[in-house]
Amino acid sequence: MAWANKVLRVNLTEGTVSDEPLNMEWAQQYLGQRGLASKYLFEEIDPRCDALGADNKLILTTGPLTGTMASTGGRYSVVCKSPLTGAIACSNSGGYIGAEMKNAGWDMVIVEGKSPKPVYLYIHNDDAQLLDASAIWGKSVWDADRILHQTHQDPLIRISLVGRSAEQGCLYAAVINDLHRAAGRSGVGTVMASKNLKALVCRGTKGVGNVKDPLRFMQATEDGKRVLRENAVTGQGLPQYGTQVLMNVINEAGAMPTRNMRETQFEGAHNISGEAMHEPRKSDGQPNLTTNAACFACTIACGRISTIDKEHYTIQNKPEYWGNSGGLEYEAAWALGSDTGVDDLDALTYANFVCNEDGYDPISFGATVAAAMELYDLGVITQEHTGGIDFKFGSAEALTQAAELVATGEGFGKDLGLGSKRLCEKYGRPELSMTVKGQEFPAYDPRGIQGMGLAYATANRGACHLRGYTVASEILGIPEKTDPLSTEGKPELVKAFQDATAAFDSSGLCIFTSFAWTLDDVAPQLDAACEGEWTTEKLLEVGERVWNLERQFNLVAGLTSKDDTLPKRLLEEGANAGPAKGKVNELGKMLPEYYTVRGWDQDGVPTAETRQRLGLA
């Protein structure tokens, strides 16, 4: 069956835990993970609730293939209403914790209410307990992780945690697992901390032993692995360079958002690229990158394990940072680097370590720093606001000090923890915030990749590359090449990517497989594992249903078609360089057609016919 068929419900207000069967009728409609948890959330909370209030719920959820031998079958998601956007939040992470939850026999943990004092959830197979977190509250993710391992005297426990940034109310705090993997976006960590829940500690020894047809499943997963192995991106590019394989590619395409998206190419791109991470440094002859690493069950292994140069100013006197940890991936390298104009690889790696150590999203953080640098550049804010930091574009010192301040919520870190939208509003220049629905952009300028403009404007969790990655088609030619500067056919393309992605995200698999896999590769694996018939067509329908359900959540929460837009800069100021020079994003040409393709009215509301077709009330 692949699902564990069991949900753990945790009521923090009452201090109780209980188990209940998974709603298998919903599982047939929403599959698992992102889809199924979104269904639970939509049914159980009022989308208008205060995201940081006791009425919001936090769902940690696996997919049916989590914990199996399917390549990348180790994903889990954290789902709740976002404090950053007011929309639905769903952040996906790898590492090992998702598989550990599944091995302990749980599909999902639903966290309700708010604890009167800091607690953490300890799960050992069927046994679940809320334990006192006073010894780890106020500690960083890394310190708390070490203390928990000592406390439980068990090297095999896996842990998800929030850091000090979340406790201090940073609106883009993440839930970090396995020290450096993150359910990173939309402030899901902020919600967890708002409930006084510091950690999930898990140990599972039951395993996943109930796949529908084991022999067919082994064959299907082996077929899938072969496709990944033989594909140039998943077989060579990602293991060698990680997602950082994109840095030079996107820069050359003129779609590298630079200095708060004022510019579209970064002169320092090479210095912070995947290639640069392989180059030996002067001090010790070692490269930044030590090795690549895999998440649970992943045969791609795109993860970066890195060190910072011990002679770098950031860690010269801090031996605790001299070891290896999770290194730069493309989004972090872009946000911390290109968007702030900093091309110091070690400074970026340090900032990235700090993001993991205290649990916040490097994309939103970097983009917020970039907005602050532009405010500083324009004289809107001064050293009086920044606490004496010379906050100019390109300053590595400003970046790394900002990272330390957001980690603890001190000084200017409080302002930076608001995110770009609220920061720019606070200082009277909302138009300088490069966000959609309050969430900061990722690393693709939609003036040079037109489809991404539509994907950002319509993504249900705000600006995001992981909701419809048309970059694959527009730049990389996967599954087929489309012109990145044209709007032609983009509404259909965006919808197709969005629906397929929602299906991937509901399965327990990693979306990076989709560089090589289509749903035709996923369906046989799911069909061999899960009760029911799982075809490509059914998965596309699940994906479309999930997308529309998320949309409904947002509409009830009070978002409207007016929120399906981009910052004025991207709609009115032409790209300054590269192949897209002079071009703006032509969202207006795509959005009405997108609504039509979706079966929505021109206010962006799913029509009665569409809702009926998808079985949505």
């Binding site: 199996t68 095999l156 395993g207 084991p214 293991p239 030590t290 895999a294 060190t307």
Partner: protein, 173 residues
């Protein structure tokens, strides 16, 4: 030809496919907790290392067993646990210097690597070649070749053959 499992930590990415393959073959379940092979993560050093039974010739576990429940498979050289004979006394788990024989609470017996009867699933499942099943007399061949290459003019650098990126990414380069 007898063969042995060859473990090359420098190629391991920590994906645990081997642990799942092992538990699936031996227990019918995807469950790292039931695997006879374990991958260790040395986080600070940025290294992963798979580890399992080396099938000692004069196996401590076998000699320590008071009921002769551990026997040699003549075809594979593996020291195998006979479940019908094992009484779960755990003496072998104490005798093994490497920790690779362990007790299973569920079955009341000990479990250890048996080379899957000569077709080890961990090696088949490993996506990077960190676990291979090779001629038992030549497990050092790859490493010898790498060191020998240092004597060959134009070999990249002294440390290069031991570096993971050379081995793992050889094709791409």
């Amino acid at each position: 030809m007898l063969r042995a499992l060859q473990l090359e930590p420098e190629k391991c990415t920590g994906c645990l496919q081997c642990e799942m393959a092992c538990s699936f073959e031996n227990e019918g379940v995807f469950n790292p907790a039931k695997s006879r092979i374990k991958v260790f993560n040395f986080h600070d050093q940025g290294r992963f290392a798979p580890y399992t039974c080396t099938q000692c010739d004069e196996a401590w576990c076998m000699h320590a067993c008071p009921v002769e429940a551990i026997v040699v498979n003549q075809d594979t050289g593996a020291k195998e646990v006979l479940d019908s004979v094992c009484v779960g006394c755990k003496v072998c788990t104490i005798a093994c210097p490497f920790g690779t024989v362990n007790y299973s609470h569920d079955s009341g017996k000990v479990i250890k690597c048996d080379l899957c009867g000569g077709d080890p699933w961990c090696a088949k499942a490993c996506p990077t070649g960190a676990i291979t099943y090779v001629d038992i007399d030549s497990t050092g061949l790859g490493r010898m070749r790498a060191w020998a290459q240092q004597g060959v003019p134009s070999a990249a650098s002294f440390n290069a053959p031991m570096e993971k990126d050379v081995q793992t990414y050889g094709q791409a380069q």
